[in-house]
């Protein structure tokens, strides 16, 4: 009995501490003036905005430290709006904190259920309304309305169709075919092997098919190549991959195997290709092997050779899908 603890009493709310403005009219008056000044500042901000919008020409520039040459018109528009909005907020906060009543008030929750009288009244009103509208007497209206409402509910489900159709072989095929000429991007000029010096790169697209006058973005997103020329002895490739190059010229898909960004940051000194999005780094001398970053697969290499005039052509289409992984990808 003696070691039983006393239950802790509910301490209740702490005693309310009055603010100085509650006790002394002088402080209240001062707070009122302060709030008024804040609101006036906001009004000045709006005036500044209007003046700079109407009267300040758009071609005046002024030097501001750190920010550099700035357009006066834009600068004052922004400043005016910032001042106008900020000081409305500041005035409201200052007013609420210092002058509005701050005594704690306890409001008890009431029961959610309405009293029986109100409930009976509601049922009576609905029934009277329904019989006045004549729903029971005119079943045609009731049924067609049901049909209309029901069908309109299907619309959102119908829109799900836009998630399809399935891409088919779109993701696995590019415009590169055996014998497709490599052309410059932009410019669409055929490229001779002798056009590239050692250390040179070129951005490449396939030559446009007969009847097409431009590369569609969908095509560019799959077809873009980077052509790089190294000294042939710098390659560290197996015999098959070496046969895909031509006199030190090697062609890789520019679409990163991680997320599909354009990989074209080529460092001539290290022979590394870098993806600007997530810093995946590929070693050009080892068939674009991933040496850093999140990419899981090397960039696909296009087998190239030259035609009898010395122009670069594709030996064969890509032997694997270009770009990032997708569900149905086989490897």
């Amino acid at each position: 009995m003696s070691n039983q603890l006393e239950p802790i009493k509910d301490p209740g709310l702490p005693a309310h501490v009055h603010r100085r403005a509650d006790l002394d009219e002088k402080y209240a008056k001062r707070a009122e003036t302060q709030v008024a000044i804040l609101f006036l500042l906001s009004a000045l901000g709006t005036v500044l905005l209007i003046v700079s919008y109407v009267f300040i020409p758009q071609d005046i520039f002024v030097f501001i430290p750190v920010m550099g040459e700035q357009n006066v018109h834009q600068l004052l528009l922004g400043l005016g709006m910032a001042i106008a909005l900020f000081f409305i907020g500041a005035g409201l906060i200052h007013w609420a904190k210092n002058l509005m009543p701050d005594e704690e008030v306890i409001a008890q929750r009431h029961e959610f259920r309405s009293n029986d009288e109100d409930r009976a009244e509601f049922v009576k009103t609905v029934k009277a309304g329904a019989s006045t509208a004549g729903l029971g007497r005119r079943p045609l209206i009731k049924r067609t309305m049901g049909l209309a409402l029901g069908l309109s509910g299907i619309t959102p489900i119908l829109l799900l169709r836009d998630l399809g159709p399935l891409p088919g072989d779109e993701l696995t095929k590019t415009s590169w075919k055996t014998g497709t000429y490599l052309v410059t991007d932009p410019g669409d000029r055929r490229i001779k092997a002798s056009d590239l010096e050692v250390g040179a790169v070129a951005q490449v697209l396939p030559e446009l098919a007969e009847g097409k006058d431009h590369h569609s973005l969908n095509d560019i997103a799959k077809d873009a190549l980077l052509l790089i020329r190294l000294r042939p002895e710098e390659f560290n490739l197996d015999a098959e991959r070496l046969s895909w190059t031509h006199e030190g010229i090697i062609a890789f898909s520019k679409i990163c195997s991680h997320m599909g960004c354009a990989v074209a940051l080529y460092e001539q000194t290290t022979k590394h290709l870098l993806c600007p999005c997530h810093q995946s780094t590929f070693d050009v001398t080892r068939a674009a092997k991933v040496i850093f970053g999140p990419a899981a697969r090397p960039l696909p290499q296009l087998a190239i050779t030259v035609d009898e005039e010395g122009y670069l052509i594709a030996q064969a289409p890509f032997n694997e899908p270009v770009g990032p992984s997708f569900w149905e990808r086989s490897s």
Binding site: K97, V201, A202
Partner: protein, 272 residues
């Protein structure tokens, strides 16, 4: 005594100054000075015209090379452990590397950076001639290739830049990071001749952009586009270095959220 003497000298000088002939004599002297200065200055362009002058410049270049470059690049520009061979790099390479102050390197860091050139234009020219005399290589582009205002199309230049240059040098030519501390420098304030030389020689980590894949006219267009970006005023307020979401994000996260936190703290503080 001394003071008196001094005062007399000053008096004599001021008498000379007020002499009737003083004006005309000064005028002749000024014209003579300007004339000879102009002759000496404009002579720089004509030094390489004759063969004799050319070999003299090559010899001067060789002397400069032996003094300033050979400790790393070798007595015969054959290269060494820390520096590449310069045989066959061409005059354009030398003009770019030395003319932009990248060479001589200040320190052995990842990359030589642009700085105030150590050599005068005439000395750079002599060095370029010397290195070009070792083996043929890309030549310094002449004025006929650099008339970008006449030959270049800004729109075409923008398209070429976005495909060929923007991945390293940023979409507004402000430069960007590469691997292991290397970087692609900003192109703002670079002379057209140096932009051209960089494209044909591929300095440091940059690859070469041959004249066949990007023609000289297209190169002029790229220069025209870069110059138009350089001249573009900041119409939309502070550009924050024109590097996109990095600085914008930094500012929003520090200044913007900082302000919001300040306001939240103020809101929660009890008034007294």
């Amino acid at each position: 005594m001394d003071m008196n003497k001094e005062r007399n000298t000053v008096k004599r000088l001021s008498r000379l100054r007020r002499h009737r002939a003083a004006g005309p004599v000064l005028l002749v002297f000024a014209l003579f000075t300007i004339g000879t200065t102009f002759q000496v200055a404009s002579a720089v362009n004509t030094t390489t015209q004759t063969t004799a002058d050319r070999s003299a410049a090559i010899e001067e270049g060789r002397q400069l090379f032996l003094k300033g470059c050979s400790s790393c690049h070798g007595i015969n520009a054959e290269g060494g452990v820390v520096a590449p061979s310069l045989i066959g790099v061409g005059a354009a390479s030398v003009d770019f590397q030395v003319g932009t102050g990248r060479m001589p390197m200040a320190d052995m860091s990842q990359q030589a950076m642009r700085k105030t050139p150590v050599y005068t234009p005439a000395q750079v020219n002599a060095l370029a001639l010397y290195v070009a005399s070792l083996a043929p290589g890309p030549e310094i582009p002449g004025d006929e290739l650099l008339n970008y205002e006449r030959d270049g199309s800004i729109a075409e230049g923008g398209e070429l830049f976005r495909t060929n240059c923007a991945m390293c040098h940023n979409f507004a030519a402000q430069g960007g990071a590469l691997t292991k501390g290397k970087y692609a420098p900003t192109l703002m304030g670079v002379q057209p001749v140096h932009i051209y030389e960089a494209m044909i020689t591929g300095p440091q980590a940059m690859p070469v952009f041959s004249d066949k894949t990007i023609t000289p006219e297209e190169k002029a267009s790229i220069i025209a586009w870069i110059k138009s970006v350089e001249a573009e005023p900041q119409l939309g307020g502070a550009a924050l270095g024109r590097v996109g979401p990095v600085t914008e994000g930094l500012l929003a996260w520090t200044l913007g959220i900082g302000l919001l936190i300040g306001a939240a703290v103020w809101l929660a503080m009890k008034a007294r």
